[in-house]
Each structure stands twice: as C-alpha cells, then as structure tokens.
C-alpha cells in the first residue's frame, strides 16, 4: 500500500508535475471510495432493517423489487428520492436550511477517517484516534439544530432541542466508557488499540464499558429506545419534518452512516477489530460490525420508547456513575499490576 503510493508519487515527480496534483488525486480517490462504501452499506442496512422489522412483526417486508427477497428495494427508493422535487418551505431560512444536511453528512463522513477496516485499510491512523471521532461527532448536533431551527416549524424545533439535550448528556458516559480501553492500551490510536487485542478482546475485561458504550451509542444515533428527538407519535418526524426528496435522503444517509460508525468503533475498541481466524481481516471487521448493527436493529423493534425524564435519569444517574466506576476500577487494577 505504502510502496504503491510512493511509486505513484515518484511517477508524477519524474514528469515534473508539482506534488499537489498526485496528492489531490489520492485524496479524491480515497473520498470517492469512502462515499461509495457508505452508500452501498447504507442501502444494504436500510433493506436489512426493513427485513428484520418485518420478520419481528411476522411480516415479509419488501419482496418484489429485484427478485430475491426484494434486494433492490433500497436502490429503487434512492432513485425515487433523487428524482423528487426539491421543496424549501416558504417560511424557512433558506441558507441554513440548505446547509444543515451538508453539515450533518460532513460530520458522518469525517468519522470514517479513523475506522480501521484492516491492518493497512485505514484512511489515516491519527495520533488522536478515538478523540477525533468523539469531537467530530458533536458536529452532528449543530447540523440537527440548524435543520430544526431553519425549518420554522414547532415540531422540528422541539425535535432539535430534544436531540441536543440528549446528545450532550449521552456524550459524557460515552467518552468515560471508552476511557477504560484507552487506559489499558495507553494510546488513542485505533491501530494500536486493535493490535493490543491480539490475545484477548477488551469486551471481556471491559464488559461494563462495552454495555455503557453501546447504550450511549444508541442514544447518540437517536434510535429507539432513545428516539425522543424524532418520536413519530409526538413530533411527526422531529428535526427533519420539513425536509423532503434528496435533502431528506442525505439526513437518512448520515443517520445510517453514523450507525455504522458507532458499531465499527465498538468493534475496534471492544471486539478485537480485524482479529479472527481463517477469514481475511477486513471481512472479520465487517462481520463483527454488522453483528452490532443487527443488535441495534433488534433492540429498536423490541423495546418501547423512553420518556424524556427517564432518558435523562438513565443518562446522568445510572450510566455516568457506572462509567466512572468502571474507569476507577480499571485504573486501580492497572496501578496494582504495575
């Protein structure tokens, strides 16, 4: 990988082209690959979620488009959304309204920089690794508030406010739950964290950390049982009530892309990343990630929605103390073991 890149650069250097040209080409190729991966994976996840929900409710779900169990349903839906009329409500703040989906999607896209699909399959092994994801994901909330406010609709403002409150309160236990792993490894780099799990996956010594992370991550994704920001029965659709067509599709894309990101990070931090016998590393990574995504979908169609006060109680009075306890015990064990 590295060698091929160097050869690519040296070819351009021989021709006398400034180094910015091959660098830009590499960047464009990497971004295109990531966006392509996100689109395909999201389309698969949407079809999969519809299938899971249908089977949980003793239905079949999409069956017709594409032949085999309606596999092409998401593609058809995507094309339909692309062709729809672009509507901006008359009372909306047009600039902010147009900017909001881009901010949300940019945050979702940026997080893919640090996902380690394999030993060499990472866009960039940043020194600050996990911290990068935690900080960049907070940009999503800004996008959601922009969308909710600019729509000029009371439901969307309520949804945006709820979403902000939820994200701010669940970010704290999320960060603290990850600290146990970081303390054990002594590094924030994703590659080093995965490599430290060669012998034992961190889900075993850090079981509580894993549970807290998963709970907080589901809340960060605004999914049931924590979906009060978009509670259909109260808020129609929450912050994206006024969005339709492609703008709505971008929100949807970002939401599922985020779901993949939190699952991939759970895989890298707790489930040993790409480690596993026989199969190639990237396949192991994807299998583990999709297993967590399956659990998230399963929970969504099994549990009922929490009330706002229950949500806040759970976040601040249960998850946060447990996360701190987990951190303290990990620290104590590390100190005793030297």
């Amino acid at each position: 990988m590295e060698k091929a890149l160097e050869r690519f650069y040296s070819v351009f250097a021989e021709w006398g082209v400034p180094s910015i040209v091959p660098q830009l080409i590499v960047m464009l190729v990497v971004v295109s690959v990531v966006i392509l991966f996100i689109s395909v994976s999201v389309m698969f996840m949407i079809w999969w979620e519809r299938k899971i929900s249908a089977h949980i409710q003793v239905r079949y779900g999409p069956m017709r488009v594409g032949g085999w169990h309606g596999w092409a349903q998401s593609i058809a839906d995507g094309i339909k959304l692309l062709l729809k009329e672009d509507i901006i409500p008359a009372g909306a703040d047009k600039l902010v309204f147009a900017l909001a989906p881009m901010v949300v999607f940019a945050a979702a896209l940026a997080a893919y920089v640090i996902i380690p699909f394999g030993p060499n399959l990472i866009v960039r092994d940043l020194n600050i690794g996990v911290l990068f994801y935690i900080s960049i994901s907070s940009l999503t909330v800004v996008g959601i508030i922009m969308a909710g406010w600019s729509s000029n609709n009371k439901y969307s403002v309520l949804g945006a406010l709820r979403s902000a409150a939820q994200a701010v309160s669940y970010e704290v236990p999320l960060v603290v739950s990850v600290l146990g792993v970081i303390m054990t490894v002594g590094s924030l780099s994703m590659i080093q964290i995965v490599e430290a799990q060669k012998r034992i996956w961190f889900v075993i010594p850090q079981f509580f950390g894993f549970l807290i992370y998963l709970t907080a991550a589901i809340a960060e994704c605004n999914r049931l049982p924590f979906d009060i920001p978009e509670a259909e029965s109260e808020l129609v659709a929450g912050f994206h009530v006024e969005y339709s067509g492609m703008r709505f599709a971008i929100f949807f894309l970002a939401e599922y892309a985020n779901m993949f990101t939190v699952s991939a990070i759970a895989t890298a931090l707790f489930l040993g990343g790409w480690h596993g016998p026989l199969l190639p590393p990237w396949l192991w990574f994807l299998i583990k990630t999709y297993c967590i995504i399956f659990v998230m979908m399963w929970l969504r169609w099994t549990l009922a929605r929490l009330r706002v006060d229950q949500l806040m109680n759970l976040g601040w009075k249960v998850l946060l103390p447990l996360a701190f306890l987990n951190m303290g015990i990990t620290g104590l064990i590390l100190v005793i073991h030297g």
């Binding site: 703040d93 902010v96 911290l131 900080s135 508030i145 945006a160 406010l161 701010v168």
Partner: protein, 167 residues
C-alpha cells in the same frame, strides 16, 4: 507557495469570514451558527500546527459544548431570533482603541521576530507528553482550574434551585 501555505490561507480566509459573519449578521441564530464555523476553522489551524489534541478538544468543547448551549439558550428565549440585533453599540470607540492596541502589539512582535512558542514536539508524542506535563509539572494550575469549574457548576445549581423555590 507550498501546499501547507495554500491550505493555511484558505483556512484563514474561512475563519475570518465566519468571524466577520458572527459580528455583522443581524439574526442572532446566524451569529451563533457562524461562531460554530469560526471555532471549526480555528481547530483546523491547530491541526496545521501539529497540535491535533488541541484541535480535537477545541471542536469537542467549543463546537460540541459551548455553542450548542448557546443555541439552546437562544431557542428557549422567546422571539429573540425574530428580532434583529444591533450591530453597533455605544462602546464602539473604546473597542476600536483596544483592537488597534492589540493589532499594534502583534505587528510589533512579528517585526521583532519574537519567538513566543517553544520548538514543536514530534507529532506522535504530542498527546502523551501533554498528558504527562498536565499531571506532573503543571498539576497545580490544572487542579486550580478544575476547582474553578467545580465552583461554577455548584453556583449554577444553587441559582437554578433558588429559582425553583420561588415558583
């Protein structure tokens, strides 16, 4: 012009543009959103200076924390966003004086070639050594700042409680 310089000028223009929007926009929500982009631009400049940790913390605290609370407060204040904000106020003269004083100081420092920053650390060590320094050499200021924040939090809780007792 190297790539880094080109990126720097792009980022600087972006940050300054957003900062101007914060001051010049008449809608207070627009100001707050522009502030988000200003903070983000500053974080990007930190990355350019190899201070990745600082950049991540900047985004986490300023973008993810402070401006969201700001937007929250704006939205919970009834009809504040419908009213226009006054851009100029009666303190314009004094603030102009302060701005020019700071500008003059910066120009002077740059012309004299004043070195304010220490030599950069190798990037891969920056985060770890920052943590080590915070818990050894600078542990006292670090703890003092924590106590300050704790006091602010306790104060906020007491204020909120008093409000509730009045109701």
């Amino acid at each position: 012009m190297t790539v880094t310089q080109a990126v720097f000028f792009l980022l600087a223009a972006f940050t300054l543009g957003a900062a101007l929007l914060v001051v010049l926009a008449t809608n207070i929500v627009h100001c707050a959103i522009a502030l988000v982009f200003t903070f983000f631009g500053v974080a990007a400049l930190y990355v350019l200076l190899d201070a990745e940790f600082l950049a991540a913390v900047q985004v986490l605290l300023y973008v993810g924390g402070i401006t969201i609370l700001l937007l929250f407060a704006i939205m919970l204040t009834s009809r504040i966003s419908a009213r226009g904000v006054k851009i100029m106020n009666e303190q314009a003269g004094i603030s102009a004086l302060v701005v020019f004083a700071i500008l003059a100081l910066m120009v002077f420092a740059n012309l004299k070639g004043l070195v304010l920053a220490a030599a950069p650390l190798p990037a891969s060590y920056a985060t770890a050594s920052l943590g080590r320094l915070l818990l050894t050499t600078y542990v006292l200021p670090f703890e003092v700042v924590s106590i300050l924040l704790l006091a602010a939090m306790v104060g906020a809780i007491i204020l909120a409680k008093r409000e509730r007792e009045k109701d």
